[in-house]
Symmetry: C2
Subunit: 478 residues, 2 copies
Amino acid sequence: MVSTAVPPRPLSSTFLLGLAPVASWFIIRPFLDPIPSLPGLYTSIGFSLFAFIATLYLVPALGPTFIKAHLSGRDLLKDYATPIPESLGLVCASVYTLALILFIPFAFSDSLTTHSTQTPEGIFVPEFPHSRLSVYLSSLLSLLMATILGFLDDVFDIRWRHKLPIPIIASIPLLMVYFAERGNTHIVVPLPLRFLLGSLLNLGPLYYLYMSLLSTFATNSINILAGINGSEVSQALIIATSVILNDLLYLPWPIGFRLPVHLLGSKAEVEFGGVWSAGMAYGSKELVERHLFSLYFMLPLVAVCSGFMYHNWYPARAFPGDTLCYVTGMAFAVVGIQGHFSKTLLLFFLPQIFNFVLSCPQLFGLVPCPRHRVPRFDKVTNLLHPSKAIFMKPPSKLAATVLRILSFFKLVDLTLHPSGVILETTNLTILNFFLIRLGPMNEKKLVQVLICSQICGSVLAFSVRYGLAGLVYDGDRR
Amino acid sequence: MVSTAVPPRPLSSTFLLGLAPVASWFIIRPFLDPIPSLPGLYTSIGFSLFAFIATLYLVPALGPTFIKAHLSGRDLLKDYATPIPESLGLVCASVYTLALILFIPFAFSDSLTTHSTQTPEGIFVPEFPHSRLSVYLSSLLSLLMATILGFLDDVFDIRWRHKLPIPIIASIPLLMVYFAERGNTHIVVPLPLRFLLGSLLNLGPLYYLYMSLLSTFATNSINILAGINGSEVSQALIIATSVILNDLLYLPWPIGFRLPVHLLGSKAEVEFGGVWSAGMAYGSKELVERHLFSLYFMLPLVAVCSGFMYHNWYPARAFPGDTLCYVTGMAFAVVGIQGHFSKTLLLFFLPQIFNFVLSCPQLFGLVPCPRHRVPRFDKVTNLLHPSKAIFMKPPSKLAATVLRILSFFKLVDLTLHPSGVILETTNLTILNFFLIRLGPMNEKKLVQVLICSQICGSVLAFSVRYGLAGLVYDGDRR
């Protein structure tokens, strides 16, 4: 395919004009009688729809401004050199955080949040959930920090070894507020280890380390699985959707239905229904609140990612830059930490974990790591081939052993000297792995394969979480 | 003066190495017996000293990185064209917000903040001040927003008409949290108006408008009084110092002394002394807390501004960019709003108010407004002269009348056609006003005059606040 210009992708104004009244209805609905049981959720959906519209419009509108400010690059896997605006994840991040900030007054409007306290005179006064507001605000602070740091990374082009710890800085507000409020640092011990550690273990300062590392992992694992059109944003979109599906299981649904989780190996079916006793929350208001909190952060994220994906889809009209990876990664860390479901969250990162583990020999210097590890583009066939790292001097014994094992499992392709010395290896990424296993394919096909693997990962994650987890934890986990 | 290179200003490492242990002592002190009555204040001073050291070091260290990222410009009032790194206010803002974020756990460590509540069993439990934490976090959010928006302004070079409302966006977190917590929207009515309005007036939604406008004014008024080396940062420094002096009046000082405020026209002297009953707080814990809050935000601001001023002083080695104006302006708005002393704060902005009022005919299009209104530099004499705006077509009747009035008060210099038509006017800024009144001078002298006027403004502000204010408000104002 030869194309010299990449005009902005067309936007259907009838579709968008039709969406605005729908979004407005969701925002107005909580003010109408009968007031719904979860008014904040309606507002959140309304804001998310507006965020979706805003992202769809703003990304192409601001593209030229970004190019003018030296924020652009050419697409390495295309045969044209048209500058494509870079770091438009900033637009997503801005729309996303602004939506979350405007949502502050609505986040605590749910009827289930109006706890009341008894004054000395015996009057019940509805109490504002200040503590939950602090949690919300500290999450927002971390997201804003991630936005700033991501954008700085784009502007100043920080080297990857230096930027690995950046998400730790962005997680400081989370940790500080958790510490200031003397947050819980206990974890539930899996059944097989309880004879050793008891049922609850106080991690103390290690808990803070764990929170920081979760932010670092969530951010960087998306950032290193990048390089082809649509890869970053599609990962974020699928993980966010998975978190939303998981959250929905804990909401008080007014209708009744059953999930056949016994098919997944659990002991009993899960019954949903009624107003407060429904779902996996088993009547726990706290669990409902945590998963509502998670929904409030994930719904607008899905919105801005969908809007951006339209312009980032092959062939891309806009690049996300590091800003998008930082903000989405931090958003996942925030809901995992504040919603207390970080183990479930990690299950949604299976392809990222695979990619990270596979990348380790290159990340930690065992195997040479070129500046770009993206697949190699063949102009003639328009296909992508696995890209290679060349050994300038023979690999160390350890490196050679590791590579031979990886090669045995067909995770890498090695080029050997007749003497048996390794001359080249394919770069250790999941994208190259797909190309080795499935053969050369074009960029669009490759991102589709990546999306499929991410969806399969999420399906597996749900099976593990609601099936196998019953074997190592009590059935009634909170 | 002819110089072709501008080497970084030297840093005395002995001074800085000597400062580090002092800073550490302030941080360690609250953990040692006897615990001081305001432990948070010690920590804040310690953090501020470290912020000062960090800014001093980081500004020259990061300069080349900024130049590489196209963030540089030549100094318009110099005879050399060496690129000077621009928007290093970002470094100040980052150090400042990071210091404030790390300070979160200490901000509420003061013994006076441990309110306790009685449980149904009759036990007194110390209660964490969640509400004050939310206020602190929302302030931080607004500061981070101001940082992002300021930096975006620097990178994308937004036109000034478009950027006027930007601080309103940055103030949204403040407003949202104020609204979510159902903050007080009443104001105290001055004595002469009480027969009409009562002693307290509920402004309702207007109060939010007022908060937004305060942010906009504080930010933009510093941003338009700019253009010569050291002007922005020196304004911020003097205003912040004035706010600190005002805060100190409300702290519980362990020593006793008297302020002869009767000399300023007040009815009685103010006596300081004792631990809780001291100062202008008259024993009100709430007033002490508000002014402590203000101190926590102002001390590190003074620190980063001092550190930056060293490099921004004539001839400047680094420019602040809009980021510095946004962040300092927002910091002032935050303490004015959250500390409930916005009227006192505005008194510290006298030169800015003068400059803003004088600028109005140009800002609102009555008089032509060139892109830069900074004084004109004469290479031969190394002096600054008032810069001029040229009328391409004769001014409107209104514009001519306004300019003639301004000219009568020697606020502008007009160039007239023999027929009496105005051909040129000096640009309507306080800097040009100084040059008209005091004659051409060099840039260093001009910034010194500006600093003097700012200090005089603050002295006048204190006289009005603690002298004349007694005439229009009750003596015992809170």
